[in-house]
């Protein structure tokens, strides 16, 4: 057993004061922690403040800022601005992206949106909203306070394409984001509609992506291709539908309908037409600038509405854009009037092209001083449509263009020309009967009369009779088929002309004109056939003449001489004395007759006959010359209106008038034809009115 004494003396514990290597660990930990802290602070980007109208889902430390769908920052704090008028969102940017967030940057909130074109921002339903930023790729002037956009901008600054402005009358079916189509391809989209200051037009920004924006020019026309288009025309029923999105959300199609457009600047304003048809009409007629004016009309007028046509003569010069009630505070009666806003195309009123609005107004004021007035009118053959028309009033008062009484300059009005259906019909008939039909008929009748005179002249009639006794085979020639056909044609033509003349005389009006025109055609045809037959006639007559010439007149005369001499010899013989005196007298008479005959009676008669034949030949020749003249006169009378048209300077009012008149006549004719056909088929329509 060991005792305490046996134990070795414990070595004194050496109190080594050396530092343990373990101390490296906390030092290392501190270093690492400091390093982390430093890194965090060094990598921290700047804070920007974006002002939003409402926080709508923005959460501090949660909502990211995204650029091209990549997180480039996080909301650190959401506070109220001073006065609680807005929400200030403090966003910590990534350091790398911070230099690019310059003064031109834009921010907006991305929320889930459901539209006809699809659902956007679906991810935000679950993840919460995020803030999208947009800036270009070059660092610019630094900024740290921004106002958020209320919606996503139409395009980002680095997107290639062209921004344009579309202007239309109404917001219509076109909603923000609707596609812009070109040849059926979606080439862009349109933004939110904005009402113009005067409240009459709606403008939207639109963006056409590159490279399709190269298709844009000043000749481009935009039209609304929303929904369904349904056309019933001569080609049957056409049913047209663009894309489903366009059906629901609307869409705008553009195309270059005429050549010669120039390149456009970004921000060019295009009108949106209601359909391809109107767009094409505009492109072909040339639109020019539009001038807005107004007119006050009696409130009792019915049928005026936006879209009502404004005419000048027969030309469309614009349309009514709005009809509103107007009570003039200064007027003593205080009666309600209708204030009609119109949009006119000054060029179609004969204004010089390229004028500014002020210059156009000045020109309009001058024209008004010279008697230009606006009036209500009704038009249409059977159904009545109220229109507005500019007229050159004869007894215009001293009214002037009133600039500042209404939003648009006020054009003075003339008494309305509003009639009922009968008046419209009568007016049409009047217009038709005012055409120079009489002149046409007179000249036609004159021509026909001369032809008749020629045909019925005694010379011409006597020619065959005279010649008959002398040349029997001339008959065969005269009665030849050619002549008969020619004469029959001529007869038919004459009959037609007569019938036509009668018809025209008996029944004035449009139907007559139609018949007359048709008959004229037949006349022309008949005359043409006659002229074709004429050479044959002339040939035949020449043959007759030749044969007449070849008749052995000398022999005849010789034989007559012989007879005479024999008779003389007989008479002079002794035996004759025995003859009674009576016989002798008779013989003497015969002698006288023969002498007469010899001295020229028969020959003269023959000569006369020949001369008459010659005369009729000439008459026929004259007639031959007359026929083309008749034809040309018919032609010329038929073209009177046309000549009249070409006689005036192009674009003049009268030309427009006449062109319109012609168009109206043909339209009226067509209308009448179809009306008569309808009536033929269904007489009850007269009663039912359908």
């Amino acid at each position: 057993m060991m005792t305490d004494a046996d134990l070795p003396t414990p070595e004194p514990t050496e109190s080594r004061r050396e530092i343990s290597w373990v101390w490296l660990m906390p030092v290392l930990a501190v270093l690492v922690a400091l390093g982390m802290v430093w890194q965090t602070y060094a990598n921290r980007g700047p804070v920007i403040v974006v002002t939003f109208p409402s926080a709508s889902g923005i959460e501090a430390e949660q909502t990211p800022l995204r650029y091209r769908e990549l997180d480039v920052g996080t909301v650190e704090e959401v506070t109220f601005s001073e006065g609680l008028s807005a929400i200030e969102v403090h966003i910590r940017l990534d350091q790398k992206i911070a230099p690019y967030v310059d003064a031109g940057s834009e921010f907006w909130l991305v929320e889930p949106q459901v539209s006809a074109r699809g659902i956007t921002g679906l991810g935000t339903v679950l993840s919460g909203v995020y803030i999208e930023g947009s800036w270009d790729g070059t660092p610019g002037e630094a900024a740290d306070r921004f106002e958020a956009l209320t919606e996503q901008p139409l395009f980002s600054p680095d997107q290639a394409g062209t921004r344009i402005v579309l202007s239309s009358r109404t917001g219509g079916q076109l909603s923000a984001g609707a596609p812009v189509l070109f040849n059926g391809i979606s080439v862009g989209w349109i933004g939110r509609p904005v009402l113009s200051e005067n409240g009459l037009t709606v403008t939207r920004d639109a963006f056409i992506e590159a490279p399709y924006d190269a298709r844009l020019s000043t000749a481009s026309r935009f039209w609304d291709s929303s929904g369904l288009s349904f056309d019933i025309g001569t080609n049957g029923v056409s049913f047209n539908m663009e894309s489903l999105a366009a059906l629901v959300e609307g869409g705008v199609t553009f195309g270059t309908l005429v050549t010669g457009g120039q390149a456009i600047e970004p921000g060019h304003v295009f009108d949106v037409f209601s359909s391809l048809r109107t767009a094409r009409a505009d492109a072909l007629e040339g639109s020019g600038t539009r001038l807005s004016v107004a007119a006050l009309v009696d409130a009792s007028v019915a049928g005026l509405s936006a879209g009502t046509v404004v005419r000048y003569g027969r030309a469309n010069v614009g349309e009514v854009t709005a009809v509103t009630g107007f009570r003039d505070a200064d007027a003593p009666s205080g009666d309600m009037q209708l204030l009609v806003d119109l949009e006119i195309i000054p060029e179609r009123l004969g204004f010089a092209a390229g004028l500014t609005t002020d210059e156009q107004l000045a020109t309009l004021a001058d024209r008004i001083a010279a008697g230009l007035r606006l009036r209500l009118a009704s038009e249409g053959i059977i159904g009545q449509t109220t229109i507005l028309e500019f007229i050159q009033a004869e007894d215009a008062g001293a009214e002037t263009l009133v600039i500042d009484r209404t939003p648009f300059p006020l054009v003075p009005t003339a008494p309305a020309r509003v009639g009922d259906a009968t008046e419209g019909m009568e007016g049409l008939v009047d217009r038709v009967s005012n055409l120079p039909i009489e002149e046409l008929m007179t000249s036609a009748i004159g021509a026909l009369e001369s032809v008749q005179q020629l045909a019925g002249s005694p010379d011409a009639l006597q020619l065959p009779a005279n010649a008959n006794g002398l040349i029997s085979d001339a008959r065969g020639l005269v009665g030849s088929d050619e002549i008969r056909i020619a004469l029959a044609d001529f007869q038919a033509a004459t009959t037609d002309l007569r019938a036509m003349t009668d018809e025209i005389r008996n029944s004035p009006g449009l139907a007559n004109l139609l018949t007359a025109l048709e008959s004229s055609q037949q006349i022309t045809d008949g005359l043409a056939a006659f002229s074709e037959g004429l050479p044959g006639v002339l040939d035949s007559v020449a043959v007759i003449t030749d044969e007449i010439r070849e008749v052995p007149l000398a022999e005849l005369v010789g034989s007559l001489d012989q007879v005479t001499q024999q008779l003389q010899g007989f008479l002079g013989s002794e035996s004759i004395d025995d003859l009674p005196e009576a016989i002798r007298g008779t013989l003497e008479e015969l002698q006288n007759a023969l002498t007469e005959l010899r001295t020229g009676g028969a020959v003269e008669n023959l000569n006369k006959a020949l001369a008459a034949a010659q005369g009729s030949m000439e008459a026929i020749e004259i007639a031959t010359e007359l026929v083309p003249e008749v034809v040309s006169r018919l032609d010329s009378t038929a073209r009177t209106l046309e000549t009249a048209v070409s006689g005036y300077a192009p674009g003049s009012r009268i030309q427009v008038d006449i062109t319109n008149a012609l168009r109206n006549i043909s339209e009226a004719a067509a209308a009448f034809r179809s009306l008569s056909r309808t009536l033929e088929r269904d007489p009850s329509s007269l009663i039912t009115g359908r």
């Binding site: 070795p8 414990p10 080594r16 660990m25 906390p26 930990a29 501190v30 935000t124 679950l126 993840s127």
Partner: protein, 212 residues
């Protein structure tokens, strides 16, 4: 048993001129360098024990700070990413009504580590100079600290398992945050700190003649 009595009866190996092998328990005479049985280095007292304890303790404390500041979990559910710190997670759990889970997380992640820091610091402070504490109690505290140390890793395990299991791409994804690593490191450091503690020191610095 009276404390003075107890103290009187206690004879340390060192007092007995022996040194115990910390690996296999074989008692060798003081001064022997290596254990004859297992070959481990023999040292009667680790003179640098308290230094090491304090060093690991500080390292653990430093790493425990980011473990609480930075997010422990990054969970992404359908585009929405939530990051939760330890305390935030506990608060969230309480909000959701999961009091039990909240309690477990709270105990495992906050109570135990902080208690451990406190316990180790207390032990190290006491043993830094002569003391008159109940050595048995000190030892028991030490045993508890050393035993419980590994259970602090429960948080890290939860994060590791969740991260490994919940990877459904867009629907739900859980990734460990930087705090998970910090926390794991912190736990390792505190375990090392506890291990550096030479429990034999408990018996050395008893003040002689301390009144019972």
């Amino acid at each position: 048993m009276d404390r003075a009595e107890q103290r009187a009866r206690l004879i340390t190996a060192r007092d007995a001129g022996r040194v115990g092998c910390r690996s296999c328990g074989l008692v060798a005479p003081l001064g022997q360098r290596r254990c004859t049985r297992c070959g481990a280095a023999l040292q009667s007292r680790d003179t640098q024990s308290l230094q090491k304890v304090w060093a690991w303790w500080m390292a653990g404390l430093i790493t425990y700070i980011p473990a609480n500041i930075y997010p422990m979990l990054r969970s992404t559910e359908l585009f929405r990413t939530t990051e939760s710190t330890i305390v935030g997670g506990v608060v969230d759990l309480i909000h959701y009504g999961d009091y039990a889970v909240a309690a477990i997380v709270f105990v495992a992640s906050i109570v135990i580590p902080i208690g451990k820091f406190g316990a180790i610091a207390w032990l190290a402070l006491i043993l830094g100079r002569p003391h008159a504490q109940d050595t048995h109690r000190l030892h028991r505290v030490y045993e508890v600290v050393e035993f419980i140390g590994r259970w602090s890793m429960i948080d890290v395990f939860v994060v590791a398992i969740l991260s490994a299991l919940v990877q459904f791409e867009t629907f739900a994804t859980i990734n460990p945050g930087i705090a998970a690593i910090s926390f794991a490191v912190s736990v390792i450091f505190t375990m090392l700190s506890a291990q550096s503690f030479d429990s034999r020191l408990i018996w050395d610095r008893l003040k002689e003649g301390t009144p019972a």
